[in-house]
Symmetry: C3
Amino acid sequence: MKKLGILTIILVCFTPFLLLAQTPATKVKIPPLSQETSACLECHKQFTPGIVEDWLRSRHSKIMPSTALKMREIERRISAKKVATPYGNVVVGCFECHSLNSGKHKDNFDHMGFKINVVVSPNDCGICHPAEAKEFSGSKKAHAIGNLAKNPVYHTFVETVISKKAVKGGKIVQLDVSDFTRQETCFSCHGTEVKVIGMQEVETKMGKIEIPNLTQWPNQGVGRINPDGSLGACSACHARHEFSIEVARKPYTCAQCHLEPDVPAWNVYHESKHGDIYLSNSQKWNFTAVPWKVGRDFQTPTCATCHNSLITTVDGRRVAERSHDFGARLWVRLFGLIYSHPQPKHGDTSVLRNKDGLPLPTAFTGEVATVGLIDREEQTKRKKLMSEVCNSCHSTSWVNRHFEKLDNTIKEVDSMILASTLLLVEAWNQGLAEGLPQGKNPFDEAIEQMWIRQWLFYSNSIKYASAMTGAPDYATFKNGWWNLTENLQQMKDWVELRKKAKELSSK
Amino acid sequence: MKKLGILTIILVCFTPFLLLAQTPATKVKIPPLSQETSACLECHKQFTPGIVEDWLRSRHSKIMPSTALKMREIERRISAKKVATPYGNVVVGCFECHSLNSGKHKDNFDHMGFKINVVVSPNDCGICHPAEAKEFSGSKKAHAIGNLAKNPVYHTFVETVISKKAVKGGKIVQLDVSDFTRQETCFSCHGTEVKVIGMQEVETKMGKIEIPNLTQWPNQGVGRINPDGSLGACSACHARHEFSIEVARKPYTCAQCHLEPDVPAWNVYHESKHGDIYLSNSQKWNFTAVPWKVGRDFQTPTCATCHNSLITTVDGRRVAERSHDFGARLWVRLFGLIYSHPQPKHGDTSVLRNKDGLPLPTAFTGEVATVGLIDREEQTKRKKLMSEVCNSCHSTSWVNRHFEKLDNTIKEVDSMILASTLLLVEAWNQGLAEGLPQGKNPFDEAIEQMWIRQWLFYSNSIKYASAMTGAPDYATFKNGWWNLTENLQQMKDWVELRKKAKELSSK
Amino acid sequence: MKKLGILTIILVCFTPFLLLAQTPATKVKIPPLSQETSACLECHKQFTPGIVEDWLRSRHSKIMPSTALKMREIERRISAKKVATPYGNVVVGCFECHSLNSGKHKDNFDHMGFKINVVVSPNDCGICHPAEAKEFSGSKKAHAIGNLAKNPVYHTFVETVISKKAVKGGKIVQLDVSDFTRQETCFSCHGTEVKVIGMQEVETKMGKIEIPNLTQWPNQGVGRINPDGSLGACSACHARHEFSIEVARKPYTCAQCHLEPDVPAWNVYHESKHGDIYLSNSQKWNFTAVPWKVGRDFQTPTCATCHNSLITTVDGRRVAERSHDFGARLWVRLFGLIYSHPQPKHGDTSVLRNKDGLPLPTAFTGEVATVGLIDREEQTKRKKLMSEVCNSCHSTSWVNRHFEKLDNTIKEVDSMILASTLLLVEAWNQGLAEGLPQGKNPFDEAIEQMWIRQWLFYSNSIKYASAMTGAPDYATFKNGWWNLTENLQQMKDWVELRKKAKELSSK
């Protein structure tokens, strides 16, 4: 391999440093770049121009942390009280982010004479955004891998769904699961574990170069385990390299992972009056204002409004505080599990214990876990935080009635799930299918798959539609009561038909 | 309860009346507000700022009815010939709408010294918009509750779908339906009956206040029964409190209720060439122009263009008249019922009678009702109204052929539904399921649910795709011919398997 | 019939020629119109104003080919080296396009004294855009009808899906398929054969006129067979009469045919990070720039970026060449067929031969055809073309890993399809269903329909999600691994239940 030195780079990147002069954004005074970032840009402008252009659009390329610190606190996008020199007095460029905390970064490597980290982690972003990094680190999002992969029940479910199968001797046999498939299914959202397993040589336009060999990379999953040991990926929502607050505030970002059939937040929003007005009018709104002024900057909420943005009134009254713990305003957990239940206390849900001693928020028949969930007082507090946001546009009685309706829906839907669970148990007990009583996989037979649809797809849809002020078709025909009802009937028919067949066989 | 007087309000709402001065819209001369509305705004700016900001965006906050009356008739958004003083000489603010016809409003109550109606009804909007209120009052939309809930057949269907169920003694048993669930499923679109059942005390930021206790509220369903006895909710499409013509003209508004799987107007539009051009170019169009000029203000139709807007050419030729009876340009009814049929004469469809004497537009095997549907002459007249809109961009032969194609599609799809119905009848007659012949619920068994899918989901999709100039995937694989065919096969298999089981049992 | 002469037209179209003076676009100097186009506009402004307004928006109405030829080659939208007088020195109006190559056009007719073609074909567009016409003519898109309708296997599939059915003697019987239904389902995208079968009289606002009677018209399918014998419809993507490059570059256009469940390109894009950023930010991008500058004019690709646009960097380096052969950068074919395989060499796929001698790209059990598919060298070359586009924003190792992942996904998914195929073969061999071994339709029984879902819907979804950098829910729950797994289970259950019934019957 021909190792390239700095001299070679200069020869290759012969283009004069006209980069910034060409961009419209730089007709105004150009803020100072670090020497290192200038060097990065010289080559990467040639080789990955899209990244450079994206960064040029970003606030990072235009404002030095030291300038940011001069703004009124409520208008600041950084939460650090001070930012160490020299980083404070240059704009936030390639090198500023990709060189941080290099001691911790197993993915740090020598790149054209610079020591570079491949993966920028929440721990690195935390240099300027420490409050956000801390809030995020305690959230369920930060623990999205462990909560899924290390829980034996969910782990079985995941492997059942995404494993290759073959039909052998009249039976469907589960084969292995590849890391590639894990990476592009469940763990594309939940995040992968990115580890350094040595160096690799890559053939590029500049010749061969040596770079770290990373496992399950690329991945921007929200719970990614990074080579520096930190959890999460800020880029999941603030996409590289514009790191836009606008993109993060728009619902398409959340919609990448929170969509039908299992988490139909986007679909329900699209169908709601909030979504209608967003889709019709949002081109006239201000998605970059900090603080975000209700009514003025936006007419109806996006996901970020209700769940995590700093919201004020036009005249500055604080309606809701910013939080990057996305469950901070939530009191009840609606999706992903068999029954609804109070939010977990910690982002790491492995500490939960249901009455059977399993790390689950409810028992198989719905009883709420006694360890690890928030109490009624905390629930009330959080409901009040959320209600403050609703109250900006809706009267108190409106909001109260809305949440009463949600409480009722949760109860009704959970009762439908219990009916389905009892049918499944009957099928198991009568030996028509093999599951928990037989110590077998409870997720791999037809009746079990029907049962999964009930809680993972249909009950979630109805609860979301109720929570988000209405998506009538979702709650009725799309993935709602119609489907709960039809599928329950099919479960019963499945049981009846097998009973009948068994009975006839034994004649 | 501490009852709050006007004095208290003034003390609480200490903020100087800077409200309007802060809004960009008011750099121009501020039109006069009524004293009452000024008082509303002083407090509500604090307590529900989103509503106030929304209203500030509205035309209502900027133009007095008396000014509106000076415009050329074709450009007017109000249809009243005159508007009574004092309402004519102030802008249309909170009090102007929320105090109208108070004698009729059972939801009128004393609020901080003012007599206020909670719910503004079409009858109230009709003070300035009488033509629209009258057109709407005769439409199927205005009768959306009764048409669904008071028809015994549909009522049974609704209750079957949205009732809680339990499995008892090997059977699925229907339990009750809650008002809350009605409110967020079928009747979220169709509307709820909002009645006053007394007063209630609510804890607000201003202390405890007394307000009317309303049933099934909040609801903005298009057929809502209001506390003043009127039918409908203008806010279903002209969302509060901007009351935007732009939002109402954009397809996202219609899409809240007219979407897959049962009424896939939005989905078909999205996939059509009209939808493609709308989605690609509409940010450059004019959605507030009155009249709405074909080709100039918009390139392709939205729902409103074809169904109810006043359309002219650039040089003022009237292409189509405005109507708030949304069926006024429709001759055939495509969705929601088993078979297609001529449009009902009246918005209230309870007067229909099929050959079996039931209040339905067709018989079970497709014969069209003899009472209550428009005749061929009226059909021809309406088709011509719609064709005028098409003809603005398409040649006569194109349009003719388009509607010939639709006629054929209706016939073919209805024949597929008849085949499905006959299979269902066979299942009933052979005792494989219990339905009409047994005097039992025809909507609650698996074979019945399959049959419902045929007409409620799949045939609708194909007919919509045909009517709206094409959504080939919808008509084929998404919810179309593929599904009609596959599901018919499954119905037949269901019947065969039960026959076989019965035969074996009786051996 | 009252035949209308030119004199009558002049009398009818009495409006002074104020057309252009009224449009905002014409405050600048009006480029010369041909006399013939002026005559068209005088009447059509009255009778089809939408078409005229659309054309006024187009580049065609503003720039003469002779002006276009003066631009730098890289900025040109026309590929002709010169354009013959007189067409070069007028803007491209109605007559310029609708009168071309009249000798070849069987749809040419006398219209108000002018000889007009109804259908403008790729051969006509090729006068100014010869490179595009030629590239397109060799593409699979241009052969979309024949590839579907003339292949006996696909033909059977199509007719099975879209034929009317009846239930006779306990069996589902396929009846006929109407041309109208063909036209609005499969062939709405694939295109119809538009033939002239005489003249017809049409009643218009101007009285009766005689026009050609065309079969299966209107249609803008991408493989349309035109009355001049040419293949294709440029208007499929460049919609009439704006012929916008912006519309063609936006994903909604491709989404009309490439959408779920069979070709979920749009749905996967919407869910991907590329789609997220497009939906959030594209209102700020430049969709008309030629060449299209990566990073500057757009931040993330649309369909056109990766598949066919001319892409350069900001400083002019060519990243990818324009091609209207939309498969030019593709090496593997992911959708529409049972198994993945190398791209066909020619747009006309009738020349393919699998090991059984059938014109199919693979055998029934997956072996790739030996005749008609591109070789490994060509595959490598095309993958490199596509990688160049990716490399504009992503590092080499990122891109390499992405395509390794895709390779793995294709292999895994194809193995799941093989498992499903073997189950189907078992059902056939055991006489539980009738298909290939019995010389019967392999697409019309329940187990066959389940098998079709596996490859036509679910495996496609997973492969698309993998190819387009991720749509995790699509690959998992929406139409992905969950569905492949659940449906395989249902296939097995179907087989088991029929085996059991057979066994019991024979007791």
